[in-house]
Amino acid sequence: MNRQATLKSTAASPDAVNSSQARRKHRHWIWLLFQNRTAVVGALFVLVFFLIALAAPLISPRDPLKLDVRNSLEAPSVEFPLGSDQFGRDVASRVFYGARLSLGVGMSVGLFSIAIGLFLGMISGYYRRLDAVIMRVMDALMAFPSIIFAIVLMGILGPSVQNVIIALTIVFSPRVARVARSSVLVAREEMYIEAARAIGSSDSRILTRHIFPNIVSPLITQASYIFALAVLAEAALSFVGVGGNPQWPSWGNMLAEGQIVVRQAWWITIFPGLAIVLVVFGANLFGDGLRDALDPRLRGR
């Protein structure tokens, strides 16, 4: 790691007045990110699964929904690379199609939570009068244990993938709001905000052009952690049977079906579980690497 470069970047950040300097700073942390082996390895893990999800129809040996009772509980073989389940469905194809669901939910929840949390956090940190109300509501939402809250929301919304995304977004966006708010509170005290206000910039201009660029990096870190949490949560919801459509393959419901026949067929339990661990591990590594690249003081923590 280039120590001098990092020192320079922290020294320069408070006076990143105009956009060209801001852009240089951005290039800087992305460059640092590529230097960070942890982040690159994490990103590769996630990327591989994104490719699997995209290419699922091309690389799946069989139809993931097709029942084939004569070939039920086949061990991994040339015909069934990762074995078959109790209904004769191909585990490999189901793991590949399950990647679409898991990553789709993870991405959507990540994006929506960031958007909503960012909006709430920014107005809460900037307009102090709204702060107390918004943050109390966020505190109240965060008092409900995440998975229990998500299960209850699914009970109210009904089973569907859209509702999984809605429920998990409700559960995770208060966290983002907290992070965004505390970053805004730091940024709004900076001299350049005062300068922008002095030359008559409107609030919305200050928020979007001056504060946003300075809080975007901690939010990207949050996004990768929320992606990881959402993939885990979706799997947990499907596992206990309150996720989306139970017919459609999800790593969570595959594990639930696998547990029933765990004595005869280890492969139904092992492969979807490994897929979850690898994706979540990758996203967590990426988040840690990103955090270190963005904040040199935290390096190696």
Binding site: G155, Q259, F281
Partner: protein
């Protein structure tokens, strides 16, 4: 201290109020007319209207909320299950023992693993041991607790038949052998929390080890063991203490899922069944109680700060 406690309790009231509003509103958002459910499928519209009026469902929402909140907070009445007609609080309490025991075993294991491993990693900062432990910690955070549960069953109940693969025996019936049913689910619940704690303890220990008083303790000739265990560790425990509330929330969430894996008749099973049967009062009761546990756990943690950190004053 007493005045501080009273002030903290008063400060919690808006939060408790908001939690109650959310729990109340959630159930109001559900499709379907509760009066129609109570009246049954054969009721005439007039009967449904009469029942709706007698249930107070025609009153303005704020009034309905106050009436509900009064029952909940003054009488401890969470309403009755739509499916079984039994009081919700009673149903939850009947299933509380397995859940609390599992969460406690999980919490105990995560502290037992997480704190020493975090300290070791910090003391051996940047060594291969540190890197190995921290890689394990990220893996621990990435393993779904329910999958770990099934893997443990495969290893320790099926391959080596040492522990029961599922079920639960209460302490009253099983005594000490009831513990056998708690070990595997306890590990499944505890693993990610142990990883979370280890990372937290390591990071806070690294901060403390750079402090002046640690250098002073070393320079006045104290042994390394003494410096770490009596000077550094005590101060390093303050930051992890702030997340105990979060830890309790994680343990409850984890228990709900892991109960399903091990077929434990606890509050988690009750929650899943109530979702399947659309038994809204039960769902409402469970999230209300778990949220209250969370905020009171945080209150207790706040009160204990002063014990670890005398700089904290209760003014």
């Amino acid at each position: 201290m007493n005045r501080y406690l009273v002030r903290r309790l008063v400060a919690l009231m808006p939060l408790v109020f908001l939690i109650a509003v959310i729990a109340f509103t959630l159930v109001r958002l559900t499709p379907g007319d509760p009066a129609a459910v109570v009246a049954g499928p054969d009721a005439t519209p007039e009967e449904v209207a009469r029942i709706r009026a007698s249930m107070g469902l025609d009153d303005p929402l704020p009034l309905q909320f106050l009436r509900w909140a009064g029952q909940v907070f003054l009488r401890g009445n969470l309403g009755n299950s739509i499916v079984q007609g039994q009081p919700v609080l009673e149903m939850i309490l009947q299933r509380a023992q397995p859940t609390l025991l599992l969460a406690m075993v999980g919490g105990f294991l995560s502290i037992l693993m997480g704190i020493p491993l975090g300290v070791i990693a910090a003391v051996k900062h940047n060594s291969w041991l540190d890197r190995t432990l921290m890689s394990f910690a990220i893996v621990g955070l990435s393993i779904p607790n329910f999958w770990l549960g099934v893997l443990l069953v495969m290893a320790l109940s099926i391959y080596f038949p040492l522990l029961p693969p599922s079920g639960f025996v209460s302490i009253q019936n099983g005594g000490i052998s009831a513990l056998r049913y708690l070990i595997l689910p306890g590990i499944a619940i505890g693993a990610s929390n142990a990883a979370f704690l280890a990372r937290m303890v390591r990071s806070s220990m690294l901060d403390v080890l750079n402090q002046d008083y640690v250098r002073t303790a070393r320079s006045k000739g104290l042994g390394e063991r003494r410096v770490i265990y009596s000077h550094a560790l005590r101060n390093a425990m303050i930051a992890p203490l702030t997340v105990i509330g979060l830890l309790i929330a994680n343990l409850t969430s984890g228990t709900v899922i892991v109960e399903i894996v091990f077929n434990v008749p606890g509050a988690g099973r009750l929650l899943i069944n109530s979702v399947a049967r659309r038994d809204y009062p039960v769902m409402q009761g469970i999230i209300l109680i778990t949220a209250l546990i969370y905020i009171f756990a945080n209150l207790i943690v706040d009160l204990f700060y002063g014990v670890l950190d005398p700089r904290v004053r209760y003014e």
